[in-house]
Subunit: 127 residues, 2 copies
DNA sequence: TAAAAAACAGTAATCATTCCTGTTTTCTGT
DNA sequence: ACAGAAAACAGGAATGATTACTGTTTTTTA
């Protein structure tokens, strides 16, 4: 069975994801770690991210310029994606309950909700 | 300048997108049209979808299994993506205003908001 | 401490999407 | 209607993110 053995690389990958608020891509995680772990393979990063998603330890929050962006903060919050710089920001709010109730009433099972605003972020607007 | 000449293929592509509630992928649109238009190229479908997005005539609503899914209904509504069958459903509600206000107050410019719930849809639950 | 299982590196394959080049269609002014 | 000029297109090659494969290394277990 997979995901049951200790692995120093898996641990390093998870720590890297959990210690940033940048909502990283697989490549970003790989770039961060390759100096510290010279023989790390990009495939290992992808494989472990897939495992973390199965385990519910990370979630996919958005696809930005063809790259999947993930988050180890699995608490109930929304995101804002800047279409200019690709930055992903956290948004904390719980004003979506009417939608959730409507879905539940209609027999849809919500396993995850993804709230993404697109636009231009504060930093980009100020150049 | 692009997008200024008439094109029968462009018209057919837009009509196909506008006449379905399936939130199609580029490939789906191509499959629908290739019998009617035998020499249609998949690249043409992609090129025209990109043009429609620039013109604001279609929006990207979600990425499902690596495929971008689009919608010609650009009215303010959210979507529900079934993780089992990949179907994308429309959700009509306007209960997201507190989030929008918070963003606007903080100098974020919203050009588009993307509200996606993930889970298992009614049809899949009932097998 | 020796199999057995899991994880890995490195590379090849896949697949959606974009790019390129030569051809066809559409437009515009006469 | 007709001849450039501009735009759109087909078909195929290129790109780039992600996944799969194979032989090797690490971890577990007993």
């Amino acid at each position: 069975m997979k995901g049951h053995n200790y692995s120093s690389k898996r641990e390093a990958i998870f720590k890297t994801i959990a210690s940033t608020k940048s909502h990283p891509s697989a490549k970003w995680v790989y770039e961060q770690l390759k100096d510290e772990i010279p023989n790390l393979s990009l495939g290992t990063v992808y494989r472990n991210i897939a495992l973390f998603k199965e385990q519910g330890k990370v979630i996919s929050v958005a696809s930005v310029n063809g790259e999947e962006r993930i988050d180890a903060d699995i608490s109930d919050h929304a995101h804002f994606v800047c279409e200019n710089c690709g930055c992903v920001y956290d948004l904390f709010s719980s004003e979506l309950s009417p939608l959730e109730k409507e879905l539940t009433r209609n027999s849809f099972e919500i396993t995850r909700k993804n709230v993404v605003f697109h636009g231009i972020c504060k930093n980009c607007k100020l150049n």
